[in-house]
Symmetry: C2
Subunit: 410 residues, 2 copies
DNA sequence: TCAACTTTTATTATAACATTGACAAAGTGC
DNA sequence: GCACTTTGTCAATGTTATAATAAAAGTTGA
């Protein structure tokens, strides 16, 4: 945590990153255009652009329109010049994405984890990365891997403190992976990287303060503040699933009562729906699942609600009521610009978002609510893997222009 | 929000601020000592120290012990070299503090506001500042005023969006004050600056991630993340008072149900105590307030609980139960290093903090809870005014070494 | 006591960076 | 065709940090 000291190269780093960001955003722009947007001199911009040209990240592309003098040379951002790796784990399966500099997925390799040990998971991931690298030998790839892992992850050390659903405790995943593959590894919780993904390529592009909520087996949030992940002192900020919604509600394995996760999550939603099925004994869902209620999952409830099934809508309305309490609290406490809803089975649907908007309006303070947009994720289940690649892309300038510029794998 | 560009002076600014911070923390240190702590070269440190000597912020003070060679010249931080102004409003009264560079209060001027209009408040504050400046003519004072105001304040514009308890809406306080006194004005919400105060001079010294909770007429939180105020997109982050604790609880003027503020606040605590007095008709509190229950305030409840009064303890236990839900949520969501309790009437007492610790332990996740210290504020009602001065002190380097170094009032 | 060694301080030279101003190149517009 | 504008680059300049050096001031040990 030693804040960077002011050495002369720091200036170049800051300015180059600035120029890089603008190029990525604007896609094509002239040197004078960059000078104006950065408020750097034209000479400085020329120098910085030279290093970007050298790195192959931009290229000259014809001339722009003259504004009464010599027409400017246009510079074009080359997103495919360098690629990044991001991996996500779900249901004992890794998916590793290869993305371009915009975090756009280009290739993907998935692999099942044999066994439930962390060793097996690390082995599998190493193999998948290996395969993906083999298949893309011709590409320049940043020598790092971002990982979206389940559980509580200490981002500084890359140690998984606990991931209850897979039964891992104190797993030094970063270290395990770095010794298997020759890449720097950045590990973070799935929901946290999901937030990064939606911010870079999804619903939150252009937003600096957003909260991503992922609903699946559990519920968790990834918080982005001023464009950066909000981690807290322990990297455990954003544990939305264990926020208390009903102080006297049902007991949670965590020891608390009335945790959001016990009320709103795929199992909770499916459970409520099954319960109602037993009581009402009618409707479309009953026709399909009455015989084998255990087959009814949250996905089916969301799907039925989309088709107007009354029971399903009621179940979701109830869930939305609880979730709205939590989101209202988030709005009051974090005052975000945007809330992005994501999830595997339908929690990221517009139907659900619309329900939530109305209910959150009643819960949150008007002033904070007026500033927030509640919307659905655009990346679906890719959010985490894309975001994992973003963990790498955030370090792109260092990796590209750092001490050993030859460290880029190829 | 235009992020600073990398010009050569930026380096000096960064490094000087770094040296300044270390001097403030260490009080007395040699040049080589600074060089080691900053990892700057000795030559650079000498240059930077020269500018601090010139500004009068440090002075040479004898020699240190030799470690086998020429003994070093010791440098001493001079907290009284320059002073800062911070004001806080409460109960239609301003208190303006003059503090040193450590935010330690040296002088204070209080003034009642005649009438309830914002104009009257601005006039009164301008007069109080004037008086304080007159009385301290011989001092160097930074040409700025920090203000801790009630209500929702947009920190960028200095406009009070709404302060319901004093009936202000859309009040451009920053502008009103700047036109009355010739100083730059920084405005923020009372609880937010309270957090700054406790971090600089109170319970949170040395902490980078803390949440200050102030309990009075209402409840609000000030959040500090990586040493800086967390404001949110609208400067309205930290509205803890309107977090939902009981989804079906009592209606709040804000429109929501079960807001924390309706359950835990001075009026709520006093109200619950009065209610119980009517029912039980006995005990020490009844002896004193049975005849005129309307005279019973929250302060009396806290005082009685300290003396072991059963009824008072029960009332506070109930309040703590509710507050623990909110604090547990804060711990899960923000994962702070410390939570500081403050309040006018006893919410910042060790008795109450002890109650909360036990209850929060049951609510929050173990991993996040293990990282947090729940403690009482050390500044009491001074927290906000001290923190308001901190708003100025945060800008001290710019104010001292900025474009017009002569702008310092004297 | 004196010489060898250390540490501190100041000074000078050097390197990295951004800016300025000049100037040629390449257009526009009357 | 000529005056004017914009663009791209280069050399000169100023700022900052660092490295090297020398002088100053003390310690240590024979």
């Amino acid at each position: 945590m030693t804040s960077r000291i002011g050495q002369p190269e720091l200036l170049k780093e800051i300015n180059r990153a600035h120029v890089f960001e603008i190029l990525r955003r604007e896609r094509t722009i002239s040197r004078p255009g960059l000078a104006e947007l950065t408020s750097l001199s034209r000479a400085t911009v020329s120098l910085l652009v030279d290093s970007l040209l050298q790195a192959g990240i931009v290229q000259e592309a014809g001339f722009g329109a003259s504004s009464g003098g010599r027409p400017p040379v246009l510079l074009e951002f080359k997103p495919h010049a360098v690629h990044a790796l991001g991996a996500r784990m779900r249901d004992y399966q890794w998916s590793v994405f290869l993305t371009d500099l915009d975090a756009r997925p280009l290739d993907c390799e998935s692999i099942e984890i044999r066994g439930s040990s962390a060793e097996a998971a690390a082995d599998a991931l190493a193999r998948a990365v290996e395969t993906l690298l083999q298949r893309n030998q011709s590409q320049r790839i940043l020598p790092a891997l971002g990982v979206g892992s389940p559980g509580l992850v200490d981002m500084r050390t890359g140690v998984i403190q606990s991931a209850t659903d897979v039964g891992w405790f104190e797993v030094p995943l970063k270290q395990m992976l770095e010794s298997r593959i020759g890449l720097a590894v950045y590990v973070a919780n799935r929901s946290k990287v999901g937030a990064l993904g939606e911010r870079w390529r999804g619903a939150g592009t252009g937003t600096e303060d957003l909260i991503y909520i992922s609903i699946g087996t559990g519920v968790a949030a990834g918080i982005i503040h001023r464009g950066e992940l909000y981690t807290g002192i322990n990297s455990s900020a954003g544990e939305l699933g264990h926020v208390t919604i009903e102080p006297h509600g049902p007991l949670c394995p965590c020891g608390n009562r009335g945790c959001l996760q016990q009320l709103v999550s795929d199992p909770a939603i499916a459970g409520r729906a099954r319960e109602r099925l037993r009581r009402t004994q009618q409707g479309r869902l009953f026709e399909r699942y009455g015989a084998q209620p255990e087959a009814l999952g949250a996905g089916a409830v969301f799907a039925a609600a989309e088709e107007g099934d009354e029971l399903a809508v009621e179940v979701l309305d109830e869930a939305a009521e609880h979730l709205a309490v939590a989101i209202g609290n988030l709005v009051n406490l974090f005052n975000p610009e945007m809330i992005v809803l994501g999830g595997q089975s339908g929690a990221g649907s517009e139907l659900f978002a619309a329900m939530l908007r109305e209910k959150v309006r009643k819960r949150a303070m008007a002033y904070a609510f007026s500033a927030v947009t509640i919307t659905t994720g655009r990346l679906g289940s890719d959010a985490a893997a894309v975001g994992a690649a973003v963990l790498v892309l955030q370090h792109a300038p260092e990796l590209l222009f750092g001490e050993q510029p030859n460290a880029v794998a190829q």
